[in-house]
Amino acid sequence: MSIEIVKPGLLTTLQDRGRAGFAHLGVGRSGAFDTLALRIANALCGNPANACGLEITLLGPTLHFHAAAWIAVTGAPLPVRIDGREQPAWAPVSVPAGATLTLGAMRSGCRSYLAVHGGFDVEYVLGSRSLDVNAALGPRPARPLRAGDTLPVAAGHRRLAATPGWWLDARPWFDGDAVRSLRLLPGSQLEHLTETARNALFSQTFKVQSDSNRTGLRLSGPKLEFDAPIEMVSEGCVPGLLQLPPSGQPIVLGPEGPVSGGYPRLGQVVAADIPRLAQLRPGDALRFAPCAFDAALAAWRKREHALARLEAAIAKRLKA
């Protein structure tokens, strides 16, 4: 079975949980930015949590299905139509053979995810099927999808005869608020900010710049300054790291962020808030709230437990 790309959308890529174990060779993690939404999409079509799906950016693709399929769309809200008929998101959906699936423009948020039962059957590159757009690393041809591309889908072990007609409440899993608050662990150079800058970091609103992408979100806001210039040698980075380049305008790293960098570090967006970071689009506003490690870990555990409960509930419902 295969899916043909009729229109690619703005930026549509294959993503799974990402690539671990190659940071020492300069290879980043990549993977879905909103891992939560991809996991739920996989659960809704009976896939393992680490199956590969499509990450869709702002404007969705049009896909032609050569055979019947079972899909789910999660993440940022967008119109989902099969041969012109509206379909639910955050739900298992049956696609007839020969049908065309059209995903429209997102009403809020920045990234949606499409999973298909069986999963996309593409090659693993360094242990992952994720595309790293910048490094052109991933399943060949190692670039975002284009019209005319064909994606193979592995044969699933189950069938979805018809769309069951239930869907999840997206609210706990998707945050499209106009101003989002992200919790920030303290970074190693945070204390070297001027007092004014530190106050501004945690009280002012920042705006996502238009040149933001999976590498990082460039923010504009009050100019942040250190007490004295900081010279650093490059050290390891992870997604969610908030850095301050000499411009005084911070950058938060995304899943394709560099594995090392030499800008001073103001903080780290907590793991539980990375999916919300992923859903910020250019022009959106955000604030930072200071967070301690214990609280960050507690938030992560709480979310993991809730997600595990949800996955179990979905699996049960799909069996019924």
Binding site: A23, H24, G26, L126, M232, E235, G236, V238, A271, F293
Partner: protein, 253 residues
């Protein structure tokens, strides 16, 4: 400081071991020794061990390092890392590479073998050679002679998959980066940026001065290992002419 390093949390699932705060070959050698010790220990649930100039990033799987009581995983993994890395004598920096099969260090007196890389330092491959020579007050030939005379250590890989930051550049060749970076630097370009030299593995944007090009593929995800060079490896450059470059490039294709 624990035996000359500190451990700092970076995120819930990553931490940094910091051995210093400058670009110093002795500090970098300790980073590589620690990386090797951690890699050899093969701790479960440790996803990445990535050396930088003076620090080491360890990324771990939170679900593996959390226990039933949900006590702090950072404290638990830190204790293990201190036990492993603290046993490396800081007075004996051993620039060992990460263990990599037949390229391991056994029988070479503890040092990794020197990898010779052919580089063509002329014509279209060396658009900034004259600029570097002028900055250094040397002839182009003398720049090449000094660049090929040195033995370099791969301090770290980063910026792009397989991009090696090499320590050991002759002081006379140090030169600030270009004021405005190029949007496209050809794959294989050998370049100077500040006190470092490096090689662009693929076509990338870049602000370093291009003084030559190697026909060898620095990174190929279909190859095992995918990167030609690993952190801690030692490297020398060998000057080749354009004909030899073409011959080697064809053989590598």
């Amino acid at each position: 400081m624990t035996n000359g390093f500190v451990i700092e949390p970076l995120s819930e699932d990553a931490l940094l071991l910091r051995f210093g705060d400058s670009i110093d070959p002795a500090v970098n050698a300790r980073v590589h020794a620690a990386a090797r010790a951690l890699r050899d220990a093969a701790l479960p649930g440790v996803a990445d061990i990535a050396p930088a100039y003076a620090s080491l990033l360890a990324r771990f799987d939170l679900s593996v390092w959390s226990d039933a009581a949900d006590s702090a995983p950072f404290a638990r993994i830190s204790a293990r890392l201190v036990a492993l890395v603290g046993s490396i004598a800081p007075s004996e920096p051993s620039p060992l590479p990460l263990s990599r099969g037949e390229r391991g260090s056994r029988g070479t007196g503890g040092l990794s073998p020197v990898i010779d890389l052919p580089v063509c330092y002329s014509g279209e491959f060396a658009p900034d050679l004259a600029t570097v020579a002028a900055h250094a007050g040397l002839s182009s030939d003398e720049v090449v002679a000094r660049h090929t005379a040195a033995e370099y250590t791969v301090a770290m890989l980063g910026f792009a998959p397989g991009f090696p930051y090499l320590l050991g550049l002759d002081k006379s060749l140090h030169m600030p980066r270009r004021a405005s970076p190029r949007t496209r630097v050809p794959a294989g370009s050998v370049a100077i940026g500040g006190a470092q030299t490096g090689i662009y593995p693929g076509e990338l944007p870049g602000g370093w001065h291009l003084i030559g090009r190697t026909p060898r593929a620095l990174f190929d995800p279909q190859r095992d290992p995918p990167a030609l060079l690993a952190p801690g490896d030692r490297v020398r450059f060998q000057a080749i002419d354009a004909d030899e470059f073409a011959r080697l490039a064809e053989r590598n294709a």
